[in-house]
Structures are given as structure tokens and as C-alpha cells.
Symmetry: D2
Subunit: 336 residues, 4 copies
């Protein structure tokens, strides 16, 4: 930490700051500039930088060590590649996940899965427990939904991912699901993150609607610090003042995260935009920017979907999009 003293701060104030940090177990390195004296605060202890900022004569306190460790490229320089059912996420590999917003019936899932399988998809998504803003909206089929998801996936030899909402649900999810998804609204449900740290299956961690990239990585750090090294980060749009799209998909988060962290970062264009006709251009943008994967909503009959039909692709639209994405991948030297 660097403590920048106010312009021409008195020697007395400088000494009091040094004393303060030494009492808390830090060493002090002093450097006197033309205007400002800067005190380097060196040590392994944890301290709230605002406590120092309130001391007399202090202008600013600057943290210089990153708050994340395990998720950082400093800790692990090479890309983490996560493989599920033969599909890889990370490095030069782009993984594809597709399926409906919610599991509704066996027939719906069976029909959707068959078509997706024929397009080349090997990981199926489908919500069983739905986080809904309104208590009066469809909340999902619950465990019954997970059972359908598993049964259909097994029929087509696919893997599955679904959103887990609570610590209590984890054992149930482990029976049915290959990738446990943490939704945007639970990105800072720290109890859930800690519990997922003890799991030995990949976790897909969605970025919160107003989470900074740093906070998102800190949530991944929670999972990794529990011992689970398989975290897939998923960008799904942030909240801004613009409301022609449901959220603003932050495509630049892809190269930003890839520079800082070794973890794969994928994109969910369906929830980000909330509109079917924006899914194709934003999927292409994500691949072109270097995304390590995509999660796309596809429904066998979007017009009758119980949830988010408006942002779901028809299976034929998806098949065509997937072809285009494979062509784009070649240009950026990656492969699905």
C-alpha cells in the first residue's frame, strides 16, 4: 500500500502515520518528493485503507497488490482449460452450451435436445429453479426439472448445466448436473460460493448486473479458495442507463479478464440483450473478441415458452448461427 501525504504535510503528521501502520504490523518505506511524501506500507497484514485515509495529513491511500490470488495469471500463467463431455473451454477452444431458459416438459426438452445434438451441441442447459423478480411468476419445476434434464441428456449423451440457488440444493444438483451455474443475482451470495468451493465439478459463475470485473474475480476467488479449481466466468450484460437492450453486454470484459486471469470467460448473449434478433450479432461479436465459449437459449417452440421465449432462438436459427460462428472462430485462430 502506498500512503500519499498531503502537499507539504508536516513532519509530525508523517511520523504519526508511520507509527500507526507500524503498530498494525507493517513496515514503512519513506520517499520524499517535491510536493508529496509517499510512505510505502509493506507487509502481509490486512487493513482497511480508509482507516489510514482518515489520519491527519493523508491525501490518498493506494492499494498496489491485487486482492485476488488464485484466479490471477500471476499465480497460474497458463490458461485453465475446462473439459466437460469432450467440450473444452479455454485456450484456443470455444465451448458451446445451448438449451431453453426453463425445463418445462420431457417432450420440450427431448425435442430441443435432439435438434441441438444434430447441430453439434454436447452440453445442454435448462433451468429447474428460476430466480424470478416477481413472486407471482413461474418459479420452475424444481427437482422434477433436473430429472427431466438428466434423462434427456443421457439419451443423447450430452452433459448438462443448471442454476443452483441455495446451499441446501447443492447435494441434489450433484446427482443430476455436470456444471453448476451461479446466477447473476447470486454472484455475491458468499455462503453459496464457499459451499461450491468444496464441490469437485465445474462452476459457471455469471457476472452480477452491477459487478465490477474485480468483484467478479473475487467471487471466483471464493470458489477457488475452497479448493475447486474449475470456474468458468460468464459475462451476461451489465446494467447501464441504456434501455433499448435489457442489459449492456460488456464485450470488452473478455480481453480484460483474459489478461488478468487464467480462467475461461464465456458469454451469454440471450440474457444480455433479451431479444432474439440481437443474439446472433452479439454471439459473433463475442467469438470475434476471443470468448472461450457461449451459452445460448434455444427452444423447440419459443412462441410457447413459459419463460424468456422472446430471447430464445428457433433450433434452425441456432444451427445456422453455429455454422457462422465456426467460420469466425477460424479467423481468430480458435476452434469449437
Amino acid at each position: 500500500m502506498l500512503i500519499v501525504m498531503q502537499s507539504h504535510a508536516s513532519e509530525d503528521k508523517i511520523q504519526k502515520v508511520i507509527e500507526f501502520i507500524k503498530q498494525r504490523g507493517f513496515d514503512a518505506h519513506i520517499s520524499r518528493g517535491e510536493d508529496h511524501t509517499v510512505i510505502g506500507c509493506v507487509g502481509r497484514k490486512i487493513i482497511d485503507k480508509r482507516d489510514i485515509e482518515l489520519l491527519d495529513g493523508v491525501k490518498e491511500v493506494i492499494r498496489i497488490t491485487s486482492p485476488y490470488k488464485l484466479v490471477s495469471r500471476v499465480f497460474k500463467p497458463d490458461n485453465t482449460i475446462i473439459e466437460v463431455n469432450g467440450i473444452k473451454f479455454g485456450g484456443t477452444h470455444i465451448g458451446m452450451i445451448a438449451g431453453p431458459c426453463s425445463v418445462e416438459t420431457y417432450e420440450q426438452m427431448d425435442e430441443t435436445a435432439e435438434k441441438l445434438y444434430n447441430s453439434g451441441v454436447r452440453i445442454l442447459r435448462g433451468g429447474a429453479f428460476k430466480p424470478r423478480t416477481s413472486p407471482y411468476a413461474f418459479q420452475g419445476l424444481g427437482e422434477e426439472g433436473l430429472k427431466i434434464l438428466r434423462k434427456v441428456a443421457d439419451k443423447y449423451n450430452m452433459a448438462v448445466t443448471s442454476e443452483v440457488m441455495e446451499v441446501n440444493q447443492i447435494p441434489m444438483f450433484l446427482k443430476y448436473v455436470d456444471i453448476l451455474q451461479v446466477g447473476a443475482r447470486n454472484m455475491q451470495n458468499f455462503n453459496l460460493l464457499k459451499s461450491l468451493g468444496e464441490v469437485r465439478k465445474p462452476v459457471m459463475l455469471k457476472r452480477g448486473l452491477s459487478a465490477t470485473i474485480e468483484e467478479w474475480l473475487m467471487s471466483a476467488e471464493y470458489i477457488m479458495s475452497g479448493g475447486n479449481r474449475e470456474v468458468i466466468l460468464c459475462e451476461r450484460g451489465i446494467r447501464t442507463f441504456e434501455n433499448m437492450t435489457r442489459n449492456t453486454l460488456d464485450i470488452s470484459a473478455i480481453p480484460v479478464v483474459q489478461k488478468i486471469s487464467h480462467l475461461p470467460v464465456i458469454v451469454d448473449p440471450s440474457h444480455a440483450t433479451g431479444l432474439r434478433d440481437k443474439v446472433a450479432p452479439m454471439s459473433k461479436a463475442a467469438v470475434a473478441a476471443g470468448a472461450d465459449g457461449l451459452v445460448i437459449e434455444v427452444h423447440n417452440n419459443p412462441d410457447c415458452a413459459l419463460c424468456d421465449g422472446a430471447q430464445s432462438l428457433y433450433p434452425e436459427e441456432f444451427a445456422e448461427l453455429f455454422k457462422d460462428l465456426k467460420a469466425l472462430a477460424v479467423v481468430v485462430k480458435k476452434t469449437f
Copy 2:
């Protein structure tokens, strides 16, 4: 719901939209304007408006009934007044809650509580389970913290509030705590909200960092729809581009919420600004704008606080502020 057709949409397209909504159990009322035909979609069913927006010829779909019911003044025109330990929140009453960010030791709580009691505070706050961005930061004393909080409160005949983070913790909290607090990061932890709906103690629901007022009220609706009618809304700052304060305290949320809802709305200036010297002006602003209460961080020795000392007031500062706030309350025709 109102369905606005595109300018000069064909009769055929209009009929298809009517058919679509009738199949889903709605009635259609047609109104033909100069440019636009508008179809009123009348009924009690639930439908995702984006499904209609994707139909051919549709320009826009507009929801006209509010998504919230129980929290609304339409449902209950009179102010809800919540009373805890003789302190009232709502109507012409302003309730005060104060205490440290975290429970650290018995001595710390005892000393702080004594001073607060002498200033006139009757509800004590203190965190036992702390939601921290970093897995490496102090996470609170857990149940031990709740015990200390209760013991000290009983000594001074005070009530207590503390943050509950998980469904599993609710039974434990009910043993020690008078008001259960839901933190900003859990505002859309729907499982937690549902479980709190079954509790018969007041819940203080903090607004999420990027939650719209509508979403915040919908989260209160979750709690109320479970049967718990005692919800205190707490504005604690939203995330914006400005970073000279930790968050931007949305003071205008106070009159906005009070117009729509009968529930009391209080303000937490300590977390909103994150800086001690901004707590007094923002507390005064909140009271002047009509807030139904305040939650203020006070620590017997902020310089040594384990958490958020930088935003905690000294007991003497608080005592003086409380006097000023009482004087302001008179001007806006309210009382502490």
C-alpha cells in the same frame, strides 16, 4: 397490457395478434388511432410482454398494471408503522438504529451500547455474519457475535438488528434478533426472501447496489406474499460512475417510495458514502427529505475497528448529530 401496432399495420397482422392473446386467455379491446392501432390486452393471466413484441407488426407492448400488489398504496393506502422496543418507523415517526459494523468483543459492544443508550438510541445494530468481497477478509464472529449482541442489548434494554445471510441461519437469528436485516447483495436472494416471509419479526430490506426501485419493491413483495407484513425498506446507495463516494445515496428514493408504497423507508448513510465526514450531512438530508428512519454506524473506538472503522462515527459525534436531527425533524413535522 397495451399492444401498440406499427404505423399502418395491416389488418391481417392485427388479427393475428388478437388471436395470439385470446389463445392465452386474454380479452382484446381494439382502438384505432390516426397512425397506430392499439390493442388493450385484458385479463388476469401472466404473459411475458416480449413474446408479444416479437409478433409481426407489433411496435411496442406496454404494461399498465403494477407488478407489485401487497407493497402498494393501492392495496393499503395508510402508512404501515412498525414498532420495535417502543421505537416507531413510518408515518410521522422516525426510528433510529445505531451501532458498529461488526460485533468484535463484549467490551466493544458494551461500551458502544452504553454511550448510544445515553444518547437516546433504543435499537442496536451489529454484524455477526459479514458479507465480504474477499474470502480473506474478516467474516464476523458468527453465532458468538449474536450472543454478545443479545447480552449487551438486554443489559441496556435495547432491541437488536443483524444481517442474516442464508435460509439455514434464520432459526438461529430468531433466538437473538428483533429485526432481521437482508443485505444489499442478497436483495434478490429469492429463497431467503421467501423464508423470511414465514417469519413473524420485522425484516429490514436493503436496496441492492444496482436495483431499481421497482425491483426493490418486488423483493419486499416476496416477503409480504409469504405473510410477513413488517418490512422496513432501507436505501443504502446505488452504484454509479461517480467514485468520490463509495456509492451514490439516492435521497430521491425516499419521496418516490413513499408515494407508491405504504412501507417505511429508512436510510443508511454510513455504507452509502463510506466516509465518516459525509455521514452527518447525508443523515440530515435524509431526515429533511422525509425518511422514516436511519441506520448509522457508531463505534466506541473507530480507529481500532475490525471493519468499516473509516465510516463509523465516534459516540460523541453521533450524540451531537442526533440532537441536530431531532431539530430538523421538527421542521418537517416528524419526531424521533
Copy 3:
């Protein structure tokens, strides 16, 4: 405009609203729903919808006609294709503009232009009047800069674009420049927009840092309503809470604008991200999402640039990127 009355509003209140709008020259079409009466307010006059919202018994007023006319696809369904020096923007054509942030010296421009020309660039950018946040920062060479820009461009048979900051500067710019650029900070400098409406050269209109897409289109409407039909929209990042990039490039604005408007929309990845290593991925994302053009900062010697060197590409980096972009364009069925 649709006026939604409050649930069960009295007949008296309904009649008063009708009277109010009739007095202002509108017709009223009434439609009575189960809960809400809706009054269609039909006519060509202009009225502030908030004036109606304040009437007794009114719940909400909803505008249904778009505020923009000339920029809209309703007015002109076909894509506007703008051609400058043989380079086209719009439809299936992607135009490329490149050059340094600021014009510094003849040598700098000459060297940069030569390399860009050899890469296939035909439109050169360079700032002569710089909008700088600080009054103490380099403000550009002024008219001298425009002269250099023109001289170098003529040598290589290129067209040029540069930012105009004030009404007074327009005649000077018309002598030197082929595309007049309006900067993000001037997007709502309405006097400047009006004056540019009288010009008969293309205008590149950057989106303001916090401008909604609707406001951006309204600013284009200002220019078009003056008679200038050649407006190129330029997305350059919006301000959000995220600060790992200078701004958040809103890639989804591309398909959103293209659906509403016939005008070409291009992207400036250099100013959006502010960092050289993010320019390539974001340029690719823009092309993949369907952008009609790009403006990229390139400097012959970025390490010595007087302004924004940190976000400028080396000419060799640019040459390689341009090749990749051409390959990507093929996949999305467009051409540079």
C-alpha cells in the same frame, strides 16, 4: 399518446383529462378495460407528457410515436450508403478510417499516412482542435493542423476527417476536411448540430458518453432536419461503473441502431477502451456484429505521441489487424 387512468378513476376525472387534451388540440379515443380506462390522445401537436401525468387520476402517459422522423427506417426503409473518396459506409460496405489522435507535425502525418495508404486506408483522421478535460493539456495545432492534414492527404490521394468544436469553425473546416466530426462531448451542442445541418458534407456524429441511443438519433435528426442527409453515427463507448476500460463499448448499439435507422453506424474502439491491446479484439467484435465502419487510432510512433499514444496502434499492428478484419467481413457477408 396513451393516457392510462388510475385503477377505477372516477368518471369526473376522466372527463377532465379529456377536456384538457381537447383544449390543446388533440382528439380523445376512450377505451375502458377491467381496471383501467385508457385515453388515446390523437393529433399532431406537441405536448409535454408530464403535464398530463400531473392531472388528477392519471396513472401514466405513454408516448407511442417515435420522436425521430428523418433518421428512422419508417421515413426511409433502405440503408443510407455514404461514399467518401471511393470508400462506402452502410449496407454491405464497411468503411475504414485511421490516423493519429492529433496532428503534431508534417513528418508525423506524412509517415503515418504513407503506411496507412499502403495498408489500404483511404480516409485519414487527425485532430487539430482537441477537446481536453484539462485547460493545461495540449489543445491541438488549430488551423495549422488542418493544413498539414490536407497537404498530406492530397499527397496520398486520401480524404480526411477532423473534429469541429464550434459553429465559428465550420467555414474553416469546409476548406480542409471531407467529413466533419462531432465529438462525444458536443453530441448535444444543438447550435453546432443546427449549423452542420446546412453543410453539404458528411458529418460523423459520435455518441455522447451518457447518451441513450434515442438521444443520439435525435441529435442526428437535428442535422438531417437542416437538410444534410449524410450522417454517420459513431459508437465510442458509454460511461458505466466499470473502470478497467476507459468506457464500455456498447457493441449491441450496432444492431439496435440498424433496426431503427437507415444511417450507417461505425465504431471507435480506440477511444472506447483507451488501451492499445484492446483495440484489435474490439474492432473484430464490431465487424462481427455488423458495424458499417471503424475509426482506429494509428500513430507512426505511439511512444512519442502528444496525445493518446497509449491507445494508438503501431502501423504494423494495424496492417495485420486490417487483414483479419477483411477475413471476418467475409463471414458476415460484408466487404471493406
Copy 4:
């Protein structure tokens, strides 16, 4: 500036950075920590910190001197008190400005001014040139409006303020107006700011919709660096995701600005909220938080206003509010 090197950066990289800054006229002070070497970059030259950030081995570059000089309390510790027509802004003085959004007719202004005068107002506001999002909306009466404003003000011995939109208009404004107002959309119209630096009348500088406090102060710095020392800062709401109010009034900007700068900071609650019934609570909040003044929209007949009637108070409402505000001022030890 402090240059933080990456963890364990090689000596070679450190030396290259030192060389780089020395070539640009800076001195280097090196301080070696446990993980990070920090290089203090000392000198008076200007350099883009991102240029250094791109050097090999550099982790982060941190600016430690404030970009503003003249607006800062370091430059002038005492409050600047600006007096217009006997009304003071700053220190313990709160100034009141009131009047309609637009000047419409002599009668409207005369009637409004008379009532305001009787309430104790001595500075009248009224727009003559209106920045409107749509080219089709009422754009103001122009110079005719300024004449009316002046005539009415003279009748009641009041001072006036009105918004200037362009450099060319300044000489005209100087004939009629006592305080020149810069609108939110022109906060970074740097040519206008520079020209206002040469004026010797007070300038009221509104904060841009998405301007940080730092940018706002830098715009004030533009005016002051031209020699005009009388700048009144005006907070008028920032753009956030919340849309129940037109903008989010950032009340915390008041104490934040007052700590950094000696300039008075006032609040415009009318434009911030956009709704009449929110003006009173937000005016009270502003005074309680320590604002140095208020600008409030009042219209003799809001129902017939050509512009923003929905946010204008009735003269009687204003009179009552002004009384309440005076009572609140006493509590915070200030006076109108």
C-alpha cells in the same frame, strides 16, 4: 506520479522505465518493497500516464497531484462567497434563484416575478435559448426573451440568470444578464468555457449528466484559468439506471465538493427530479446537506407552461417551501 512495477519486475525493466521518464524531463525516486518496486516520477511536465502503463514490467501508474489548481482549497483555503444583488452564495450564506423554465411572455414573467419578489426572491431565472433534445420542440424566444427578463427584473429590482449556449451569444448576454448559466449539456463545451473565462460576471456551471465531480471541477478550472474567479457550481442530477426520477440528484456531491473546493455549490432540484412533488423534499435535503444555494422552477401558471410545467411549482407552493427552507437553514447554522 507513482509507477508501480509488476511483482518481481527485472532490474532491466526498472531501468528502462527510469530512462523513459528521465528523457521526458522527470526525476525518478526509487523505493523497493517486498513485492513491488515503486518509482516516484517527479516534475512539472505533463505526461499521459497510459504511455507509461504500456511499458514492459509496469503494473500501474498512479497520479498523486490533483489535476485542478485554481478551484482547489489548496490554492484558496477560504470559501469563495459570490454576491449578486445583495444575495450571497457560499460560506454560511444560501442564495435562492427562482423563476420559470422559459421566458414566454411579458405578462407571464411579470406575474411570476411579482409573486417571487413578495416571497423574498431577488434573483430571477428564465430561459431564452433552450437546449432541446428534439429539433421540433420549442427553442425559446431568443434575444426577445432576454429583453423581457431584463425589463421585468428591473421593475422589481431583481438580478437575472439565463443559459448561454454558444460563444457568439456572450456579448448579447452581457447586456441583459447578471449570472451566465452553462447548461449540463455544455459542461464540456470547452470553447464556451474558455470564452466565459474572459467575462467579469459570475458563471453558474451545471454538472453534466454523466460528469464525475473531478470533470466538473476541471470545467470550472477552464473558466477560472481565463481569469474569471466567480464560478457557482450547480448539481442537477446524474444519469443512472433508475428511471422513476428523470435523473438521480447526487446530494452527496455537496459535502464532497465543499471539502475539495472553495467554490459555492448549489442545487437544482427541479431538473434533477423532473416532477413537481419531488421538488420540496429534495430542496430540503439539499439545504440540510449544506448546499450554498438553490435554483427552483416556479411558474405563475404551470398548467399552461410551454416547457417543463410538470416540474414547476405554483408561486404559493414556493412561498411555503421557502419558509420551511429558512427554518431548516437555522438548524445547519446557515442563512438565506
